[in-house]
């Protein structure tokens, strides 16, 4: 009789302990989900901000100005076709845009 009651108490105790452990794991998982959700939000927002900064920095006009500064071998493709034997120096002097004062095209 004594043994049976002792066994019952022990079983109940172990069940309670297992349930508590399970509960704690669920709480830990819920907390992890919550933190992950926040991180995803922050990453998405950072990504959007980064996309904006990239888009702003790569405007066509800005790229044309920035290219020679990155590597002096880079020149923007002029909007007017050039002779195939044009040198880099001559290319750098090509106008980006026909100047109306120069009467380009006659």
């Amino acid at each position: 009789m004594f043994g049976k009651i002792l066994l019952l108490v022990l079983v109940l105790g172990m069940t309670a302990a297992i349930l508590l452990v399970n509960r704690q794991q669920r709480i830990d998982t819920a907390t992890a989900i919550w933190h992950t959700w926040w991180r995803l939000q922050e990453h998405d927002q950072s990504l959007a901000q980064l996309q904006y900064e990239i888009a702003r920095s790569t405007q066509p006009a800005r790229l044309r100005l920035a290219m020679p500064g990155i590597d002096d071998r880079w020149r923007s493709i002029p909007l007017i076709p050039v002779e195939s034997n044009t040198t880099w120096e001559q290319l750098a002097d090509q106008p980006e845009w026909p100047d109306i004062d120069q009467g380009y095209g006659g």
Partner: protein
């Protein structure tokens, strides 16, 4: 006791008794604990009810509005998450320390010290709505302000994430792209037209929490995934758009015009590559168009390339010439009785006087188009029936919407059959008594580029196959289209298009100069000395790729007003730059080769 001897009976009975009592006590305690747990779960006491409260919290995920991209994926408009500062004045007062006589002022000072904002302005805002639960205090905060505010909380003050619409290309294509309002909904342009596609679906996460707000559990069905809005991809190329806006601005400024419009069309597939519209307020002169929205924000102005028709003048002649030739009203080599310099004018069958800018005597039907002779056009127009002339207009889809995708599009003004007179017959042949929008003009002209087929115009790329050519109708035969193209190429060398000649590409085009229409409120009719100067051209000649139209509204006559002089150079420069940008080789004899690599 010796080993193996049993315990005395009294001792063993005592041990047994204690054990039994111990087990009973443990069992009772366990039973009480379980009962209490069940009772707390099902029927918590009155004093605990208030603490329990709402045990679920919901967090919203801010989803982003769809982006607006150009044909190459460059971002024209996109949303980012910014933060707005807000306060709860009622809570500030409620939670204030007892010795704080003016908690709103104290809070305002605290906010100002962390954000650099004006403390007195904040204090005024809070005191104005002292009983409110939500008072916005700023628009978008800077990053450093957000960091300072998050470092330590201020009672009754919070920051709220909100979407902010950004335009990385600044004002390029502003009126096309449009604008979003305070609630992040589209107002005008593509933002308004495609509001349903662009709007996002916010997500949410609902979770069980404890009394301290710590998350306890969340089920899978309590997480609703957010969905960003769909991106809209335009056919516009922002690089070409920027070039067109810059060149148009130069021309409007050079000729002190009231405004200007440019449309660049990829005639191969009907995609609109650029569309510009600008107004130039001039002191001492009335504006050529009233657009109150534009004064508030460039993106709120209407797009006059689709909304405001204009009289095309001589740029309309190729359309009537092609129909007249195809019907057989005149043969290209037929000599027409156009007046000589001594004759001065041409009299129609109804006695109407038709003047030309210059007189050449009798010339061929070909030459009528090259030299843009009104008299020659009137002669052949009178050979067509009224129905044939009306059909000619319809065949090129004038008087019909292009459905390019922008709101407020006008269908232009075409005289109805019931009001068509002999006057209309000659006027329309010369490009008067008809009003067309720039997009209608490029659409009709594209027929000369595409074997006589009128393309569907597109501003938004909806199909993956952007190069697919979608046609609505056939206007003229392919041979006629080719014939007209060749003649329009001669306009550039023998006619009014000399100023629009390119060194690189064989352009075919036509100039137009029409008197500016006077509003009915001011008496109607036309201004005597104010004009609309236009030029429309396509290139390259043999395999046309683009159509470019430039309309300059009300240029200063002292500086020039003929379409070939005012608008022609704009078309020439935009043809050169656009085709170079697209990598189309120059087709003019003697033109330098297009190259992307040079000798280092």
């Amino acid at each position: 006791m010796k080993h193996g001897t049993r315990m005395p009976d009294a001792q063993s009975r005592r041990i047994l008794t204690f054990a039994r009592i111990f087990i009973v006590v443990i069992a009772v305690l366990l039973a009480l604990t379980v009962t209490r747990i069940v009772q707390l779960k099902l029927h918590p006491g009155q004093d605990l009810q208030e603490t329990v409260g709402t045990r679920e919290s919901t967090l919203s995920t801010v989803a982003l509005r769809g982006r607006i991209l150009d044909r190459r994926g460059r971002v024209a408009a996109m949303s980012v998450v910014g933060y707005r500062l807000f306060a709860d004045p009622a809570l500030i007062i409620q939670e204030a320390d007892r010795d704080d006589e003016d908690p709103l002022a104290t809070t305002a000072d605290e906010i100002a010290s962390r954000t650099g904002m004006n403390a007195s302005v904040i204090e005024t805002s809070l005191k104005k709505k002292a009983k409110a639960r939500y008072v916005p205090l700023s628009h978008q905060l800077e990053d450093w302000q957000v960091v300072n505010l998050q470092r330590k909380s201020i009672k009754g003050v919070g920051i709220q994430p909100r979407l902010v619409r950004m335009n990385p290309q600044h004002d390029t294509a502003a009126s096309l792209v449009g604008f979003v309002g305070f609630e992040h909904s589209g107002l005008g342009g593509i933002e308004h037209k495609y509001q349903q596609d662009l709007v996002p679906d916010d997500g949410k996460l609902t979770y069980l929490r404890d009394s301290r707000g710590r998350p306890l559990w969340s089920d899978a069905e309590n997480y609703v995934l957010s969905r960003n809005g769909s991106d809209i991809r335009l056919t516009i190329d922002l690089a070409i758009q920027a070039m067109a806006e810059k060149r148009l601005g130069q021309a409007v400024k050079e000729f002190n015009a009231g405004g200007g419009r440019v449309v660049i069309l990829d005639s191969a597939n009907g995609n609109i590559l650029a569309m510009c519209d600008m107004l130039n307020p001039r002191s001492g002169m009335e504006s050529i168009a009233v657009d109150p929205g534009r004064k508030l924000h460039p993106a709120l102005g209407r797009n006059r390339c689709v909304t405001d028709p204009y009289e095309p003048g001589s740029t309309f002649k190729p359309f009537i010439w092609s129909i007249g030739t195809e019907i057989g009203a005149a043969r290209p080599t037929e000599i027409l009785p156009t007046p000589s310099p001594s004759d001065g004018i041409h009299l129609t069958s109804t006695g109407r006087r038709i003047r030309d800018v210059k007189y050449y005597g009798p010339v061929s039907w070909d030459t009528v188009l090259i030299k843009s002779l009104n008299s020659g056009m009137a002669i052949v127009a009178e050979r067509l029936s009224r129905k044939q002339m009306q059909d000619a207009v319809k065949r090129f889809a004038f008087g019909e919407h292009t459905r390019c995708g922008l709101p407020g599009e006008s269908r232009g003004i075409v005289t109805s059959a019931g009001k068509w007179t002999s006057h209309s017959q000659c006027s329309v042949a010369m490009g008067h008594e008809i009003a067309v929008t720039p997009v209608q003009m490029v659409r009709g002209f594209a027929a000369f580029c595409n074997n006589g087929l009128i393309p569907d115009l597109r501003l938004v790329s909806q199909d993956r196959e952007e190069m697919e050519f979608s046609t609505r109708r056939s206007a003229i035969k392919g041979s006629t289209a080719r014939q007209v193209r060749n003649l329009l190429a001669r306009v550039m060398t023998e006619g009014t298009g000399r100023r629009a000649q390119s060194d690189q590409y064989q352009i075919f085009g036509k100039s137009g100069t029409a008197q500016l229409v006077r509003p009915r409120a001011k008496g109607g009719g036309y201004y005597e000395d104010r004009y609309v100067s236009s030029f429309i051209g396509g290139a390259p000649l043999d395999h046309p790729r683009i159509v470019v139209l430039c309309v300059i509204d009300d240029p200063d006559r002292r500086k020039g007003h003929y379409g070939g002089v005012v608008a022609g150079p704009v078309v020439r420069d935009l043809v050169d730059s656009t085709l170079s940008y697209l990598g189309v080789p120059a087709d003019k004899e003697g033109a330098p080769e297009l190259t992307v690599s040079v000798q280092p």
